[in-house]
């Protein structure tokens, strides 16, 4: 198919001795380019596993994954690293900035890797932290750190932005502003953004909502008119 992202009958099984843990079972879905896709589910449902496989951080046991026509699930380690380097941007719940680098340097860390990077300083400004370029993460608040993380993820000019509970550690207001940033970025740049959350209220902001339950796809829904973040209350 011509879908941007495609999961075909993907399963992830952990085996320890005789015990089998099925994190994902027969997951199949697609995501189009430029979409904001929200993946919801309860804790332990398998959302993160899904994201990890898509992001090339983990391998699957069965099935295939495609990004823009390329079979991600067939990559070897080196190819996966290259894939992560050029095609994927990650945003974590706990930011994971390099503590020893300033905000700007953290972003530069990523832009260095890319063949077509964005300008680091400009990105920082775009996320509203131009004035904090020289601060270390320890000197930034949670929200500010997350924004730096987003800037970092964007600096590589990836095809895909993967966010794992990006507002999990943030307060309501800050969280909202971060989500707005993500939404705006997607709209402006046409970047495909996938956000994992357990907060069902957020499903309104996405173009596509995938509900995951006990390792399976429970539901896939498309939003005709996604709600701007500032209008969502929870």
């Amino acid at each position: 198919m011509g879908s941007y992202i495609e999961f075909q009958n993907v399963s992830k099984i952990y085996r320890t001795g005789d015990v089998e843990v099925r994190a994902l079972t027969d997951v199949s879905f697609t995501v189009e380019k430029g979409e904001i896709c929200i993946i919801v589910g309860e804790s332990g449902a398998g959302k993160t596993t899904l994201l990890n496989i898509l992001g090339g951080m983990d391998t699957l046991t069965e099935g295939r994954v495609f990004l823009d026509g390329r079979e991600v699930s067939a990559f070897n380690k080196r190819q996966l690293a290259a894939y992560r380097r050029h095609d994927v941007g990650f945003v974590f719940q706990f930011y994971n900035l390099i503590p020893n680098l300033t905000a700007l340097e953290n972003v530069e860390m990523a832009s260095q890797l890319s063949k077509t990077p964005m300008d680091s300083r400009r990105l920082l400004e775009e996320v509203g932290l131009g004035h904090r370029a020289g601060n270390f993460p320890a000197q930034l608040s949670g929200g500010e750190q997350q924004r730096v993380a987003i800037a970092r993820a964007l600096a590589k000019n990836p095809k895909l932005l993967l966010c794992d509970e990006p507002t999990g550690a943030l307060d309501y207001v800050t969280g909202k502003s971060v989500l707005k940033l993500l939404q705006d970025t997607s709209r402006k740049t046409g970047m495909t953004v996938i956000i994992i959350t357990h907060n069902t209220a957020l499903t309104a902001m996405g173009d596509r909502v995938i509900r995951v339950k006990s390792g399976r796809i429970a539901d896939i829904r498309l939003n005709e008119r996604p709600t701007p973040v500032e209008e969502i209350e929870w």
Binding site: T48, T49, N52, G55, M57, D58, K77, R78, A81, A82, Y83, R84, R85, H86, V88, F90, F92, Q93, F94, N96, L97, I98, P99, N100, L101, T102, E105, E108, M109, A110, Q112, L113, F136, P137, A138, Q139, R152, K156, E165, G168
Partner: protein, 964 residues
């Protein structure tokens, strides 16, 4: 605190077993090493002590110039303090085995002292049985026959009761602890080994020596033993000396008596003979007188007879005339009376004729008598002459005997202690080589152990901070919480200490014993414990473990519980000093900047890593330095400084003729030099006890020059002038003497002599001082009587054969072959080398563990960071460089710190190594520094290689999980 608490601790141990084992292992290693090295010498000494006690090594050995009789040997047991005494015979002989191989054996009589240790077969019982040296003969020799070779001279053969001896067994001997067998005057000069015979296997007049075992319980080599031995020596000298003197006096008196008797006899016999001869003469004289009287008588008688004959003839003529006349006259009456007268005349003629015949007979008688007399006289004169001759002969013999008697010197008795037994002495030296090292290295190990404990416990406390916070929140006191970690670390340390100690005091001595087994190996190494040592080790172990646990806890427990429960903020980023150096900072590549910051970010790691690497570097430098200081010594000393091949010592001052005699015999001598060699003690400036120095004096420095190359730092040191001396470098250093200054010697027991130091020369084995003959005579107040001869031999000459030839001469006291000495020094060096290598290898391994441990912990701490990089898309090599670049830089920093440390450590260790005969040149070659750096870098690279896998295995998914 209850069972839950205990369960917690036990579960913590089982869950983090690797960590528990790490503490256990590092403590065990540290203690094991410390205890092991420290106890090696005691263990070796103990082993030797047991062995010499079991096999009754002599305490005192006495020799005399006139041997010992059986009675004296029996009476010797009465020496106060002696537990046993025995007379012994020893004799070298050339042997031949069944395959025709020959060699020289030193045969000893079997006595209850210096007993051999049977290794194969049985002890000899019959007089034609023999026990051989297990080192020199294979097991297959048992049952074969050893011949006393034909080449032995008559005297040697005369010592042995049989031509052939049957080998009943092989043995080790406590009298020959190491492989040194000694030299001999027979054969090629080298002793193949020892042999034991029952006493009746020998034929002898006197014992060659007496051995004593004293009644004591002192440990071998102990100070008490040495003190006691000195006293024994004096007593033995007096006691045995008295016995021998007594015998000497007795025999001397006896001889004198016999001489007197002989003289008396001579006189008596002479007088007798003279009397007899005088009688004979008298008789002969008498006979002569008789003969002469007879001859005179005869002459008279002849005269008378002649006269009578004449008369008768006249008468006859007259009568015949008358008869003619009568006949003519024709008177017949006239004729008858005339015929009657004629008849008378005829009768008378007949009488006279008879008379004449008588006279002739008498004449013959007298002639016979004269001849007899003449014979008698001849005999008599012969008798006189013979008497004279015999008397002269007898007188000459008596004179000779008297001279000989007069020339007898009173016997000398020499008392020797164990310190003259090569094997025994070498053993102590060898046992001690490890001692010095034992002082330094263990400190390192404990430091490292403390380091590892500290990092491990800190990490553990870090990981469990949430738990600690929770416990605090629940209301548990500090003691309880700390208790867990202290018990955790403490229990691991105690177990480690016990295990390490138990293994260490067995393993290390055994290993080092193994290294020495080529030389010794005479028994199983003893295991010697040391309670003080154990207590000390335990104390240090506890400090390392419990102490660091306490320190790690204290820090955390100072915080509020809430703080603990929150995840720990990773160490904040900070600008480093380097950043301020603008132009340098700008030049650095981005990732290098990161590394630079990272290095200084983890202060503790920085400090420990540098310390660990520095320590490792220091150790490696020391190792190489030791090698540098040691290995070349022998070559320098024997190739560049001392050039003589053989040294001969004489019993009396060397005369021209003795010298000529020796040189005539020894055809392959290229050069020779005559000199005086004696010894003295060189004292320090404050007069305190100094070093033993060999004084060499020569009246012909020119002849001596080719034998001794006096130089220093490449420049020649000229031979000293009058009142001056040149001394060896190490000696000068030790006693604090300098060129231009003075040096003081203590000579004999009281004399002190001070000489000006005109030069100092390089020397590595023993200590020497050279001076001219005049200087010696003047300064030491003794005549210059050279008794030593140095020989330089032609290439390819067999020094042993030559030495054996020279040693046979009467005037020769000893012959030393330099090659032997060189080899034994080399042996000692090699042993040292082995031991040092062992220690360095262990040290390196231990330092390696530090590196590994620190890096491991560091990576674990930064797992999240590393995972993030992976997620960002860092390739494998990029991720690796990111982490391990820091390692490399830290290593380099550690090396820079460690190199000077290493120099100091090396110097310290050199000071500790105390080998009597060698002075080391404390030096480190330039290339050794390079090797050290490379070695440490190699360690780093290996660790990095191992860590690579670790980094690779950091799972992005696991590490980046939310804090659950």
């Amino acid at each position: 605190m209850g069972s839950a608490y205990v369960k917690n601790i036990v579960r913590t141990i089982t869950r983090s077993f690797g960590r528990y084992m790490a503490i256990f292992a590092i403590i065990a290693l540290g203690v094991g090493f410390f205890a092991g090295i420290t106890q090696t010498k005691p263990a070796m000494i103990e082993t030797a002590d047991r062995y010499v006690k079991e096999y009754r090594l002599f305490d005192v050995r006495v020799l005399s110039t006139i041997g010992f009789t059986k009675e004296e040997a029996e009476r010797a047991a009465e020496l106060p303090g002696a537990a046993a005494a025995a007379g012994a015979v020893s004799r070298d002989f050339i042997f031949q085995d069944e395959q025709g191989h020959t060699g020289v054996l030193r045969a000893h009589s079997l006595i209850g002292i210096n007993r051999p240790e049977l290794v194969a077969g049985r002890l000899p019982r019959a007089s034609n049985e023999i026990l051989l040296d297990a080192r020199a003969f294979p097991a297959s020799a048992v049952g074969t026959v050893i011949r006393v070779a034909e080449e032995n001279d008559g005297e040697t053969k005369g010592w042995f009761a049989h031509d052939e001896y049957v080998v009943t067994g092989l043995a080790r001997s406590v009298y020959y602890l190491n492989t040194e067998r000694g030299t001999t005057t027979l054969g090629n000069g080298k002793l193949t080994g020892f042999a034991y015979l029952p006493e009746d296997g020998f034929v002898f007049d006197h014992y060659t020596e007496l051995f004593f075992v004293m009644d004591h319980d002192f440990a071998a080599y102990s100070d008490e033993y040495d003190e006691a031995a000195d006293a024994w020596r004096d007593e033995a000298e007096a006691f045995v000396g008295a016995l021998v003197d007594e015998r000497y006096e007795r025999e001397l008196a006896g001889a004198r008596q016999r001489l007197d008797d002989a003289r008396r006899e001579l006189e008596e016999k002479t007088a007798e003979a003279e009397a007899e001869l005088a009688d004979a003469k008298k008789r002969l004289d008498q006979a002569l007188a008789d003969i002469e009287a007879g001859e005179r008588q005869l002459a008279d008688a002849r005269k008378q007879l002649a006269a009578k004959e004449k008369e008768l003839a006249g008468s006859e003529r007259a009568i015949r005339r008358q008869l003619e006349q009568a006949a003519a006259s024709g008177d017949p009456s006239l004729a008858a009376p005339l015929k009657a007268l004629l008849a008378q005349v005829e009768a008378g003629k007949a009488e006279l004729a008879a008379g004449r015949r008588e006279l002739e007979a008498r004449e013959r008688q007298l002639a016979d008598a004269r001849r007899q007399w003449a014979d008698g006289m001849a005999d008599y004169e012969e008798g006189l002459r013979e008497l004279e001759r015999e008397r002269e002969k007898a007188e000459a013999e008596i004179r000779e005997a008297e001279e000989e008697l007069a020339s007898f010197e009173p016997p000398e008795v020499y008392v020797l202690l164990r310190n003259t037994n090569t094997g025994y002495v070498s053993f102590e030296n060898d046992a001690g080589t490890v001692e010095g090292i034992g002082k330094v290295f263990p400190v390192f190990f404990f430091l490292i152990a403390a380091l590892v404990c500290s990092t491990t416990m800190t990490r553990m406390v870090d990981e469990e901070r949430t738990q600690i916070g929770t416990l605090r929140a629940l209301g548990y006191g500090n003691a309880a919480i700390m208790g867990k970690y202290m018990i955790y670390a403490g229990s691991a340390a105690v177990l480690g200490c016990v295990a390490g100690y138990a293994i260490g005091i067995r393993l290390f001595p055994a290993t080092i014993w193994q290294a020495y087994s080529i030389l010794y190996g005479f028994a199983e190494i003893a295991v010697v414990g040391n309670n003080v040592l154990f207590a000390l080790s335990l104390a240090v172990s506890l400090v390392c473990s419990v102490g660091t646990a306490w320190a790690a806890c204290r820090h955390e427990l100072g915080r509020m519980p809430a703080e603990l429960i929150r995840p720990k903020a990773p160490p904040a980023g900070k600008r480093i000093l380097l950043e301020r150096i603008g132009f340098l900072w700008r030049r650095l590549k981005f990732l290098h900047k990161v590394s630079a910051r990272n290095i200084f970010r983890f202060k503790k790691r920085l400090f420990m890593m540098i310390l660990g690497i520095a320590g490792c570097t220091a150790l490696v430098v020391t190792g190489f330095g030791l090698k540098d200081s040691i290995t070349n010594i022998v070559d320098w000393q024997f190739d560049e400084i001392m050039h003589h091949d053989v040294s001969v010592t004489f019993t009396k001052p060397l005369t021209e003729e003795t010298l000529d005699g020796v040189l005539a015999d020894a055809a392959d001598v290229a050069r020779h030099a005559v000199l005086l060699e004696t010894s003295a003690e060189a004292l320090r400036a404050d007069g305190s006890g100094g070093k033993n120095v060999y004084l060499i004096a020569s009246d012909d420095p020119g002849a001596l020059e080719p034998f001794v190359d006096l130089h220093r730092d490449g420049e020649a040191v000229p031979f000293p002038g009058p009142g001056e001396t040149v001394i060896s470098e190490k000696l000068a250093e030790v006693i604090g003497a300098q060129t231009g200054g003075t040096v003081t010697f203590r000579y004999g027991d009281e004399k002190t002599v001070t000489l000006k130091v005109s030069g100092i020369f390089e020397n590595y084995v023993l200590h020497y001082a050279y001076m001219t003959a005049d200087t010696f005579a003047q300064a030491f107040g003794e005549p210059y009587e050279p008794k030593t001869l140095y020989l330089m031999l032609e290439e390819g000459t067999d020094a042993y054969a030559l030495a054996a030839g020279i040693a046979d001469r009467g005037e020769v006291a000893a012959v030393t072959i330099v090659e032997d000495f060189r080899r034994s020094v080399e042996n000692t060096m090699e042993r040292m080398n082995d031991v040092v290598l062992l220690v360095i290898a262990s040290a390196g391994a231990l330092a390696f563990i530090v590196l590994f441990n620190l890096t491991n912990i560091n990576i674990t701490e930064r797992a999240r960071e590393i995972a993030t990089l992976k997620v960002l898309g860092f390739y494998r090599h990029e991720t690796r460089s990111y982490v391990l670049r820091e390692n490399l830089v830290l290593s380099l920093m550690g090396i820079v710190v460690g190199l000077p440390f290493g120099v100091l450590l090396h110097r310290f260790v050199m000071d500790q190594i105390n080998i009597d005969i060698v002075s080391f040149e404390v030096m480190i070659l330039p290339q050794s520094y390079l090797y050290s750096v490379l070695t440490v870098l190699a360690f780093t690279l290996v660790v990095n290689l191992l860590m690579d896998g670790r980094i690779e295995r950091i799972s992005m998914t696991e590490s980046l999980k939310a804090m659950e």
